[in-house]
Amino acid sequence: MEVNGLKLELGYIFIKDIQFAEKSKVENGTLYVNKEEVKAIILEDQNFKSADVELAKPGESVRIMPVKDVIEPRVKVEGPGGIFPGMVSKVETVGSGKTNVLKGAAVITTGKIVGFQEGIIDMTGPGAEYTPFSQTNNLVLVCEPIESLKQHEHEKALRFAGYKVAMYLGELAKNMTPDQVDTFETPTLVEGIKMYPELPRVAYVCMLQSQGLMHDTYVYGVDAKQTISTLIYPTEMMDGAIVSGNCVSACDKNTTYHHLNNPVVHDLFAEHGKTLNFVGVIITNENVYLADKERSSNWSAKLAEYLGVDGVIVSEEGFGNPDTDLIMNCKKIENKGIKTVLITDEYAGRDGTSQSLADADVRANAVVTGGNANEVIELPPMDKIIGHVEVADVIAGGFDGSLHADGSITAELQVITGATNEMGFNKLSAR
Amino acid sequence: MVKEIERAGIPVVHMCTIVPISLTVGANRIVPTIAIPHPLGNPSLTLEEERDIRRNLVGRALRALETEVTEQTVFEK
């Protein structure tokens, strides 16, 4: 039965290897990339004076740093709009039709926007276990800005370079037959209520970081700090309606890759129609202004009530003040009689003994943790460093002497991109 | 802290400015006070006026200790 709402078919083309070649193409699971064409795309932006492109594959002795964003190449095959609407594609409502995905490939942007940087991806060794991007075949962009470029413009230019290169790679899969197709469908509110009347109705509250330079998230091109909590179909996220412009506190920032592959959305879809009725997604921001925090959490609670859900999962993004948003969301939603499960991470100190969250409430009685970001890790030297090696000693979460003479690094887990992700992307936990 | 004293079997009255915090930490007999930096005084008054306020508050605390309670109780007057 055809229903109204949004229905998206995600076609996965599995990528097992990445190589440079004369012609960019996808063949037998290998992504071939013409380096010069990619460089030319980056240098279309006159803010960059030079660019380099490198490969990093699983198992290689390679360290990438400082990472700004990770993006999965996707392309719209059928249906309205294009990937990253409002950013590089027109503002068209996405999330329906067909989208092809180069599953197993990723574009990684690196850059030294400010003097202190973090975001490490190791492709092998103990650090590799903590980041999902040690398992993807990565095309890494190393872009050098022109002298006078201001930090804000630099950040924006890097972000767009990543989207454009990811779009370019995605295009290669436009006419391919996927190895696997998964279908995701969300009916309208009215139809959804009728579909599984016996199952508990569940929504997902996705919190978005929104606080300034290198702390921002964009929804259909709008800076999330200027939004009020709203509803979005989960499939819109799969087409890049939400992108990341934030990378400070690398361990618990959602990259664009995380938004495209939101694990809560996927795991709720997996149970949809079986044990629960996945109604939709509420997105809400994490602003600096306390009145904004009150307003946004009021709205997410109001929308949850309006959707008539029995339970929600709330995912946080970032460290410190978002704990306040998280607890506000929890309290206000629980007060509506709706049950909550929260996903967060912890800063319990290196010895694990400190109070982990900057806020707490008795109603937050169901919490999933992505681990203690202060736990110290030893990263052995790698044969090759891609990016800007000189930043190693001034990465956040590092400390005096964190970069040793042999190239090894002693630092807290928080330097590793995606290590304690608060969407629950990883298996890491803590007790 | 107030809970540990209560747990030891000694009736305790908590004199504090922030009643919600007192409720959170589990005090059973609560007397609200003036302000954080000077809970039992008020520097804008004369010494004698301050003593009057303090006398009144401590008197209220003694009354709280003499009062049977079954749940968290704030002694506003």
Binding site: Q355, G424 | K3, V12
Partner: protein, 347 residues
């Protein structure tokens, strides 16, 4: 091979039940009772060289003496590990296991392990200072307990890295440790939500701070006869802060004699508290600790007496972690000193 000494009570040593709980500590060679199951689980990696058997009543009623004797026995044997119990839901046995294991750990610096049911009073007393394995509530759970305790025991004896509580089976001790779970966080969240929605039991991965409650004590019968003690979290100390109480996250509390002190003045007292602007409290410390008024009431017979000592900490209202431990300690002193009621002032 690693050497292990095992501590059990009279019941598990097959000496007898409650009627034999008075027997003092004795040393036996090799394993006894549940020690056999541990020995089998250790294989040839470790050997129980001796078992200490002690009656529960004896241990709890002669705690100092019993500890001394047992410590000397263990010292003599120089083991690589000391295991006590498991005690399951036996309260006095659990307390004995925890007490003696802690003593061995602290005094002899030997790794120790015990196990008991989560509601055993010994669990709350010792789970933050020792590895206490969570067992079932009766001896029927012995096999399960040994299965959890033996591998952890070997790790401890070898000095290996100990994983998170949920991996190793010990009770959460307040120290957060990372580990890789079998499913990703989002999946765990969906499962937790389904349990919560179905009103089934679920376990949060991150317990919020303690929000428990203590029932109010009965009122003071006659306040005019009562001995009242003053306690403050406002950090009032004698001028010069003789005990060097830290301005925040203090590692100690102060206990000060106010015998004959009628009024706290700028010249004699001050605040050590870093959690508020100290100007007003320093000018007149009675604004935080009303000694002047209580002396007045004492003279007028409105109270029986003001206790000779006041206690001070620098709690800041929201951070209650360390204050809790201090308070538990001085509350016992107040009780022993015959204090009838406490006025606690906070800033």
């Amino acid at each position: 091979m690693l050497k292990v000494v095992h501590y059990i009570n009279q019941f598990f040593a097959n000496v007898g039940g409650e009627e034999m709980a008075h027997i003092p500590a004795e040393l036996r060679e090799g394993n006894v009772g549940p020690g056999l199951a541990f020995q089998q689980a250790f294989g040839d990696e470790a050997q129980i060289v001796a078992t200490i058997v002690c009656g529960d009543s004896y241990f709890n009623e002669n705690m100092e003496e019993a500890q001394k004797t047992i410590i000397n026995m263990v010292k003599e044997l120089q083991p690589d590990l000391f295991i006590a119990g498991p005690a399951f839901n036996a309260g006095r046995y659990g307390v004995a296991c925890g007490t003696i294991a802690k003593a061995v750990k602290d005094q002899l610096n030997i790794p120790v392990l015990t196990g008991m049911y989560k509601e055993n009073p010994g669990a709350d007393m010792f789970k933050t200072s020792l590895y206490v394995v969570s067992t079932k509530n009766s001896a029927a759970g012995m096999r399960d307990a040994v299965k959890k305790m033996a591998p952890l025991a070997l790790k401890l004896a070898k000095g290996e890295k100990i994983g998170a509580s949920s991996e190793e089976g010990y009770m959460p001790n307040g120290i957060r440790k990372n580990f890789f779970d079998t499913e990703r966080g989002s999946k765990r969240a969906v499962k937790m939500l389904l349990s919560k929605l179905a009103d089934k039991e679920f376990e949060t991965e991150f317990p919020m701070p303690d929000f428990d409650r203590v029932a109010p004590n009965p009122a003071v019968k006659d306040i005019t006869k009562a001995k009242i003690a003053l306690v403050t979290s406002g950090g009032i100390v004698p001028k010069g802060n003789p005990d060097h109480i830290e301005s925040s996250s203090a590692s100690k509390y102060g206990k000060y004699d106010i015998d004959g002190v009628m009024d706290l003045t700028e010249a004699t007292y001050e605040t050590a508290h870093g959690g508020y602007d100290p100007v007003y409290a320093n000018l007149d410390p009675d604004r935080v600790l009303p000694v002047d008024i209580l002396r007045e009431f004492e003279k007028q017979g409105k109270i029986g007496s003001l206790h000779r000592y006041f206690y001070t900490t620098v709690g800041n209202g929201t951070a209650v972690k360390s204050a809790k431990a201090f308070a538990a300690k001085f509350a016992q002193e107040l009780k022993a000193d015959g204090v009838d009621a406490v006025i606690l002032t906070s800033t």
